[in-house]
Amino acid sequence: MVDLLIILAAILAGGAFLFALWRFLLGPTRLDRVVAFDVLTIVSITFIVFAALIEKRGIYLDVALVYALLSFLGVIAIARYLGDRF
């Protein structure tokens, strides 16, 4: 029962990943792609948690921890590079 719920939730998160990927591919401006990339990284953290739940291995959560710490740096670097005013 719980395994079925986990797989269903992973499928829904996969739909979110596909929507964000769509916006990433056809976003009109570069900042739209940056926003879509932000959403992609957050959904990826959720995917790592789902992988840990399905495999029942808590060590995978360390990957999610480091990714949650470092993934926003890419977004901030690109956004500050695109803005001349900072």
Partner: protein, 132 residues
């Protein structure tokens, strides 16, 4: 009791993923980059936090790591969205006609008016200093 908590954890996982899905849908459907930032950040923060809560219900021994991931998300997610929105504003990306409120532009026009009204005083002071 344990099975009930497991079921609640599964439902929380499902609710979090539904929020992620709606966030992605808003990212595609919204007309404007500012609305896209709004849809893409708020819903994904709540969705990821609900997912972490569900994982902590399913495996209580992981709850410290999951709590750390949640705290990092709460700290970093608004930061990246704020920097992106600031850059979009200063690059002059056009708002759609449906976007009405722009507090940053209002604040900037107010501060411009204040600086214009303060300018004679400062010039006067400068002159006084030069005379001294």
């Amino acid at each position: 009791m344990s099975a009930f908590i497991d079921f609640l954890g599964g439902l929380s996982l499902l609710a979090g993923s539904a929020f992620l899905l709606f966030g992605g849908l808003g990212l595609v459907r919204m007309p404007d980059i500012f609305n896209r930032i709004q849809a893409g950040t708020k819903t994904t923060t709540l969705g990821t936090l609900l997912t972490l809560l569900g994982a902590a219900m399913l495996h209580p021994e992981w709850s410290l790591k999951l709590l750390l991931i949640g705290v990092f998300l709460i700290f970093t997610n608004p930061l990246s969205s704020q920097v992106t929105a600031c850059t979009a504003h200063y690059r002059g990306i056009k708002k759609s006609s449906l976007t009405k409120v722009d507090r940053l532009a209002d604040d900037e026009s107010e501060s411009m008016e204040k600086s214009v009204s303060k300018n004679p005083d400062s010039e006067h002071k400068d002159k006084e200093e030069a005379e001294l």
